[in-house]
């Protein structure tokens, strides 16, 4: 996993509540057996018109969202299916940070496993950032080490993150290798329960 320490990038604003993983990556793209190449299908049914051309009214297709790597989303982002294809698609498209007032649990975990930093901020702050990013190219700087978000106009906010996930992201660790260091604990547990 690619570590994330400080990330600076353009924002895309998606002011829709309860965006489910079926929208993030529709089911017709779940049949692939690879982990890569899902970015082209991200938000497919919203992003493209029936003739396959980009829908200009969709938020990610707007000029100010060009090359965005920070997604500003609304409540309960990533609800529904556990499909990890959703963070794979977001990451492959270019997103490294997602900021929202709330996330669905499974999606939130899935993001960390793929080097995407998900940040919960109070609704008021998210909406302030969305207002800033709606009309123009709007960059944010996210510092994971110091847990801060800044823009060039003087916005600054701190955020909370589980220290475990913070370390995993900062170091870009492979979680399985980490767990396998505790293999003797797992052996002992199995023995004690007789399973």
């Amino acid at each position: 996993m690619e570590p994330i320490i400080v990330h600076e990038g353009n924002t895309a604003v998606l002011p829709r509540v309860n965006v489910d993983t079926d929208q993030i990556i529709p089911k017709q793209f779940l049949k692939r057996v690879e982990r890569t190449g899902f970015g082209q299908f991200l938000f497919f049914d919203w992003r493209f018109l029936a003739d396959g051309t980009p829908d200009p009214s969709f938020e990610l297709n707007k000029p100010e969202a060009e090359e965005a790597s920070v997604l500003l989303a609304d409540h309960n982002f990533g609800c529904g299916s556990s499909r990890e294809h959703a963070p794979w698609a977001l990451q492959d498209y270019g997103f490294r940070v997602i900021i929202a007032p709330s996330f669905a649990d499974i999606f939130y975990n899935n993001c960390f496993k793929n080097g995407i930093l998900t940040i919960r901020l109070p609704e008021k702050q998210v909406y302030e950032l969305m207002d800033n990013g709606k009309e123009e190219y709007y960059k944010l700087k996210v510092d994971l080490e110091h847990q801060t978000i800044q823009d060039s106009k003087g916005f600054e906010a701190g955020f909370e993150i589980d220290p475990y996930w913070k370390e995993m992201l900062l170091k870009g660790w492979d979680e399985i290798s980490l767990t396998l260091q505790y293999a003797d604990h797992i052996d002992a547990y199995e023995k004690q329960r007789g399973i």
Binding site: N18, D22, R35, S102
Partner: protein, 471 residues
Amino acid sequence: MQPKTIIEKIWDTHAVMSEKGKPNLMFIDLHMVHEVTSPQAFEGLRLAGRKVRRPDLTFATMDHNVPTQNRMSITDSIAKKQMETLANNCEEFGIDIADLNSPNNGIVHIIGPQMGLTQPGKTIVCGDSHTSTHGAFGALAFGIGTSEVEHVLATQTIWQSKPKTMEVRVNGRLNPGATAKDIILSIIAKHGVDFGTGHVLEFTGEAIRGLTMEERMTICNMSIEAGAKAGLISPDQVTIDYLKGREKVPDGEAFEKLAQEWRDTASDEGAVYDAVVEMDSEEIEPMVTWGTNPSQGIGIHKQIPDPANAESDHDRRAIQQSLDYMDLKPGMKMTEVEIQHVFIGSCTNSRISDLRAAAKIAEGRKVADGVRALVVPGSQAVKMQAESEGLDKVFLEAGFEWRESGCSMCLSMNPDFVPEGERCASTSNRNFEGRQGKGARTHLVSPAMAAAAAVAGRFVDIRDLKKPSLQ
């Protein structure tokens, strides 16, 4: 001793490591695997030269992609490859699989309980959000992503932060016509589509105790639609009776010992939860969803809400967005809404009791003109049971299609789907945009309500239908 909830009991007995300030390393008793969310996990193992730690605690099936007609000749080459990949991975890593030839084949959340793999007190994971279904047995069961699937395959453990606990108490006794599906749709409609986020729900109360195991599975299945980590019900005699004699459940003395352990797993009297929500059964009537998330449901005779009356700006936007997609107007009643498709199936409602409830309505009636109605049993065993009871004939005579088992039109990864702009009365769990096909409009209902919609061509109150065979 301090009284404990079932959630705390299972948590405490499964923590391999618990260091302060870190998630706990939890042991997993049962890992269920299917074709869609596992190929990248097995590939990860191969690339790193790792083995599956406990193939004996892992069980695989094919369900999401499986066609419900001509299931042995799959024309979708990508779907076929995904299923073959699972079969090859299971062979390479030594995992039991219920493939399309197996009598145990079916939807992962149907076959776990059916085979007796699902048992009280277990930790159960699967790369599928509806893993919460298994919570009906008093297991701590939740959906995981593919990276976590790989982690569980390699280590039989998972890192988890301790979730909060929430009691969802359903008081009183159900009204006639109201089913388990209506209970869970009512709870989500009342408390919201994300009220369970960060929590494990325990369903309690008189109405829950009175439910069969199959009905309890319907309730726990949709815990995820409230955003919950998991949902469960403390085991009781109903649970024990259901499991007795199943393939993977021991018998004789070993069973009695196990049954006692299961009883001890139940929440203690006086256990304290982080939060409590309540629902009165008298409030629950047959439900239909009108919107694009499972909380957007109403009683059959209620009016579709007006976004102008929404409590917050984001609620207003959510209602408007749903009405636009569903092509419905505020103030309409669901009984005015005509449907073109009916889907009776999915891990929410495809068990034998669901099919019996639908067949009871279908018997002696005909599917309305212009309606296509599919009945898709949850597993091959459910299908065989239904056929032995003659339910297939009841459905076929009424004009329903009788199919092979699988996830089918719940998410339409196989060839079954709803065309753009058309409506479906569906016994599944998600009415998301495009879930049953691009531009398809899904209305979630109970099996009896779905069958009634099939014969009427629109939504009707099952309490208004007189049973012809009883006249």
